[in-house]
Amino acid sequence: MSADDCGKLLLLQAEIDGELDAAAAAALAEHRASCPVCQHNESAILAARSALQGATYHRPNSEFRRSLAGRIGADRAGASQPLPRRRASLPWRGLATFGAGAALAAAILLAVLPLGRQDTITALVDDHVRALQPGHLLDVVSTNQHTVKPWFDGKLDFAPPVKNLVAEGFPLLGGRLDYLHGRSVAVLVYSRGKHLVELFVWPVSGGIEEPASAAHSGYNVIHWTANGMSFSAVSDLDVAGLREFVREWQQAS
């Protein structure tokens, strides 16, 4: 496999599979951005993955399910119900991600959500639980907005704008789906040096709101709305750095 390996092939694949920690991913990102072999291989991996979405997931029929449950001594009626597929946990993904995810989720909710609404509590719990899952930072890993944007297609009932700010010093790392305030939202993940910037995007009705910042537990949050979308940037960057991100994001095409 030498012709299609620049020496980083398996590393690249591990990154796409969410198996690299943030430091290793950052180390790879620079090489990857300028390596045509990596870009070619990435598109092969993503092509395979997208083709596999049409693959059949074979499930046992209910008769077999019942008889097996009876055989191995399950007496609880609910025990043999099919479970929703879960994301596998990625054990060595790193506790940093784990902690940051939870803190980010908490920060965003406390800073920008209207207080006192009944469903806010539900959203808090939902998000907290999801963010606690290790390896939850990125569902799609790509420095290319033309990969990240279509990834959201069919997973959301809206099309989030995706921009890569690599020239502005905030390279795109990828994206994920999250659940916030009772609805699915898109999360775009950018890096600046060792800091991560997460941009939560979901549609809103109503007018334009200028960026407003808030801080919680050491994280800064800047919220604004434009073009029918609500944007919330969350990061451990200082406020000035995060303001720069927001400015660049708004100006980028």
């Binding site: 599979d17 395979a48 049409g54 074979h58 001594g73 043999s80």
Partner: protein
Amino acid sequence: MGSDDAFAAVALPHLDAAFNLARWLTGSRADAEDVVQEAMVRALTYFPSFRGGSSRAWILQIVRNTAYKMLAARRGPRGGGQTSLEEAGGIEDIPDLADGPERALIVSDDLSRIDTLIEGLPAELRETLILRELEELSYREISQVTAVPIGTVMSRLWRARRMLAKAAGEGDKKGDQR
């Protein structure tokens, strides 16, 4: 019965995954049912020695071993000289344990084109791909289930993906004659 209940609580959540893997390894639903049934009984026997960790990987490991044992038994004594996957050396030229005539031939019309492509992969690539992309296991879990080092998991995964991407791309160029 207490330990049976405990076992059911550990094993039954993975029933779908067990069945899916067994079906992809054996090629038929009937065989998959046999394999899952036997694997669950074996797992129940081994359960006292289960030391925690990923119960999903543990169950799938037993399912996989049961499936290959069944396929090998069907192959009969003439296949006795079969070398194991790793003894055969490089992963490029290993004999394919699961693609002999004893594996059910898939001629069903309701398989999608991608299903057919997956069916056509060598067994060790197919199982790795299924575990990663359909079951979303981590490399470490796949390594446990398939009993090979993580490096081998990674190279098999790449080969499987490259073959699929190539085949899927070629199919597209021919203009979908399904």
